[in-house]
């Protein structure tokens, strides 16, 4: 316990030092993303640490959460809806219906050539009908002022609603994925989920009618006031002055604090829920399943169902975190979803923090995120030290100094290796 408190204290100190040595704005900005990272790490830890599910599709769920913010919070585009909104959803229903019909046929009919032909026929006819209905509707929607909208818009609801909605959307996807892919083991599941995440991103990039695709949705509404408005509010400026702060600094810090509070509430709630679950017969059952599925199954535990349950919960948490990130960014940019950043970095957080331990994941989230941002100045400093003995203006020195940006990743790698070296089971290992 002592050691853990010390570790948390140490990470807190990193943030505080950032505040003093760089600026409180920077420290808070990193901290807010740290909170979200911790939420994502919790989601991954539930899947890996509790149940041993190797999900490398985090990015996909995070992206779905991001999509949810657009669908919930952006104002609807009436022209686009008029152009083809209902038609496009009807087409989607038709598509789903086709798949449903095929499955029912497959189940009802006895095996044989006739069944194969019937299923094939349903697919072909369904696909042609679907395309016939979908394509014109899509084109009509995308033709509505393509440079600025060209999509259906959202529901125009408060953006905070997007957080649970993001969770739900991700949970729905997780249910579908889980039903198909959860039979896979270890690395096979990993690459399948990785692939599915890429598919999700491909859809988000290319289906412009849904979320503008690569053209991005900017200017999402915010759950907190705008800094500029604060700077113009007399009372705020007065209060800031009373604190001895200039309006710009005060407003930016205030907004970050508000965000921080919202994120922290989510994080604390999740920690409470997950801790309760982990330290209970449910958690014990999950660990048993992780240790030995065959035996757990023989002891009456429905492994498939439990895997699905945990896959959905973990993914929902990631989806919620995705909605939180997009809210913080204020825009949806599908092109920015890259596995390195949204999947592997989260994994690093969980493993470095200590998988199977919620506190470990949270700590990992804060630490690794801080590093991810701060390796840049750290790397630069290191490079300066390295090149110190070299004569000024020498080719090598110039070359090295020019490459300083690449030291960012190098430093990240070195720090990661060092942390893993000194606590191979994670900073706060599972008991």
């Amino acid at each position: 316990m002592n050691r853990n408190a010390l570790l948390f204290g140490g990470v807190a100190l990193l943030y505080i030092l950032t505040g003093f040595m760089q600026s409180w704005n920077t420290a808070l900005a990193i901290f807010n993303m740290g909170l979200i990272s911790a939420v994502m790490a919790l989601g991954v830890n539930i899947q890996w640490g509790y149940a041993g599910l190797f999900n490398v599709g985090i990015m996909g769920f995070v992206a779905l959460g991001g999509l949810a913010t657009v669908l919930v919070a952006m104002p609807p585009i009436p022209e686009a809806w008029a152009a083809g909104g209902l038609r496009i959803y009807a087409a989607l229903l038709l598509g789903a219906g086709t798949i449903g019909a095929a499955i029912v046929t497959y189940r009802r009919m006895s095996a044989g050539k006739i069944r194969a032909l019937a299923v094939l026929a349903i697919f072909v006819v369904g696909y042609i009908l679907y395309r016939g209905m979908f394509d014109p509707a899509r084109d009509a929607i995308e033709a509505v002022n393509p440079a600025l909208t060209g999509y259906l818009g959202g529901a125009g609801l408060p953006i905070l609603l997007a957080w649970p909605a993001g969770g739900l959307l991700a949970a729905g996807a997780a249910w579908l994925i889980g039903k198909t892919a959860l039979g896979l083991r270890s690395d096979y599941l990993a690459i399948a989920t990785l692939g599915i995440a890429e598919i999700i991103i491909a859809v988000m990039k290319n289906e412009d009618w849904l979320g503008r695709g690569v053209k991005n949705v900017v200017g999402l509404p915010r759950p907190v006031p705008y800094e500029v408005d604060l700077q113009e509010s007399a009372s705020f400026v007065e209060n800031a002055a009373w604190l001895g702060l200039d309006p710009a600094t005060a407003s930016t810090i205030w907004v970050k604090l508000l965000y921080g509070c919202l994120f922290a509430i989510v994080l604390l709630l999740l920690i409470w829920l997950t801790q309760m679950a982990l330290n209970s017969p449910w958690g014990r059952m999950m660990r048993a399943i992780r240790d030995n599925e065959t035996a757990a199954e023989a002891m009456g535990k429905d492994v498939t169902r439990r895997h699905l349950q945990i896959f959905i919960i973990g993914s929902a948490i990631c989806g919620m975190a995705g909605a939180m990130i997009t809210t913080l960014d204020g825009q949806l940019t599908p092109g920015t979803y890259q596995p390195l950043r949204f999947t592997f970095l989260i994994w690093v957080m969980v493993i470095v923090g200590g998988s199977g331990n919620n506190w470990g994941s949270v700590l990992g989230g804060f630490l690794i995120w801080w590093l991810w941002i701060q390796v840049e100045p750290i790397g630069g400093a290191i490079m300066n030290v390295i090149t110190l003995p070299l004569p000024d203006g020498s080719g090598l020195k110039n070359h090295l100094l020019d490459s300083v940006q690449h030291i960012r990743l190098l430093t990240m790698g070195v720090v990661l290796l060092l942390v893993l070296r000194f606590s191979p089971r994670g900073l706060i290992p599972e008991k």
Partner: protein, 336 residues
């Protein structure tokens, strides 16, 4: 109606490119599968190892080119390849000593090794960019084509051209040799068997007198050979750019997994499956059909199942479907 032209078009735009690309993936996947098979973890640094090996080879190639050494019609890079391999092997042995050995001794879980390899990946990432920069580099020389499209048209009088690059030829040949050699090595030679034994049950391998350090060393050296060769051949055929090598990691892993991790034959099959599904399923059949069908039936549309936007989605869908029916890949691979 002109079946010959249809066939040549298909060959030129689908079969040859997909085969060459498949071979490139397969060579990469062989390295991944080897490390997974013997050392039991997914090595995320493999893409950057390929970049590292290719980088050294490029530097040596440039040196050779500067002093005027060449291989005639073959690319000079082939001459530089052994140097690249040697340097990469050295680098990997050092990495093993500094990084992986510790976790082996600790009997750490595979996931820890995966994370460590992620760390190594970051480091290599930085090193490669610091040395050669993030930009694209060209280093191929020698004859670019075995047959090029224009000559083919003149030669045969067909309206469709057919191109076959020397780099494609080399890649395909090398891949076939590599997989055969690796298969033979692992299943027939004493060292190979001891490597498999080590991967199966480390403690028992010790009790049989197998030297684990040697096994690990040989594995890394083989991986270095495969990674460097794959990296150089890819660079010759396309271009060398560090970021692309990182991006290659994904299809490479997909190939290794579809085929069944730890199985060299699987890596090959996987490479071709991924490559062919990317190229064929989004192919627009218009051209081929226009040649093959009577004029009156020539299609207006593109006759494309899915737009190329979804080519990755398609290849991953295929991957997932294969895994649903064969949960351990086509050739029943391992799982840790």
């Amino acid at each position: 109606m002109d079946l010959l032209n249809a066939f040549v078009a298909l060959l030129n735009f689908v079969i040859i490119p997909a085969t060459a690309y498949g071979s490139q993936l397969a060579l990469g996947a062989l390295g991944v599968t080897l490390i997974y098979g013997i050392l039991r973890f997914s090595n995320f640094a493999h893409g950057d190892t390929m970049a590292f090996g290719a980088m050294i080879t490029i530097l040596v190639t440039w040196m050779f080119q500067a002093i005027g050494i060449s291989l005639g019609p073959l690319p000079t890079a082939l001459l530089a390849l052994p140097f690249g391999i040697a340097a990469t092997a050295g680098m990997m042995l050092l990495t093993d000593r500094w990084v992986y050995r510790f976790y082996r001794a600790q009997k750490a879980k595979p996931i820890i090794l995966v994370m460590a390899s992620l760390g190594v990946m970051f480091v290599l990432n930085g090193i490669v960019r610091v040395i050669i920069g993030p930009g694209e580099q060209q280093f191929n020389d020698g004859a670019r084509f075995i047959i090029n499209a224009r000559d083919f048209k003149e030669m045969t009088g067909l309206s469709e051209g057919l191109a076959f690059r020397s780099s494609q030829g080399i890649t395909i040949v090398v891949t076939v040799i590599a997989v055969a050699a690796l298969f033979w090595f692992l299943n027939r030679t004493r060292t190979g068997k001891s490597m498999r034994a080590y991967s199966d049950n480390e403690d028992l391998a010790l009790l049989s007198g197998i030297n684990p350090e040697k096994v690990v060393r040989v594995t890394w050296i083989l991986a270095a050979i495969l990674a460097t060769t794959a990296g150089v051949l890819y660079g010759l055929d396309k271009a060398f750019k560090p970021f692309t090598y990182f991006q290659l990691l994904l299809p490479i892993f997909a190939s290794a997994i579809v085929g069944g991790l730890g199985n060299p034959l699987g890596a090959i099959a996987g490479g071709y499956i991924i490559a062919f599904s990317e190229v064929t399923l989004t192919y627009a059949w218009k051209k081929v059909l226009t040649h093959a069908l009577p004029e009156s039936m020539a299609p207006d549309g593109l006759v494309q199942l899915l737009s190329t936007d979804y080519k990755y989605a398609v290849s991953f869908t295929i991957l997932v479907i294969v895994l649903i029916f064969k949960p351990y890949g086509l050739f029943r691979g391992k799982a840790v």
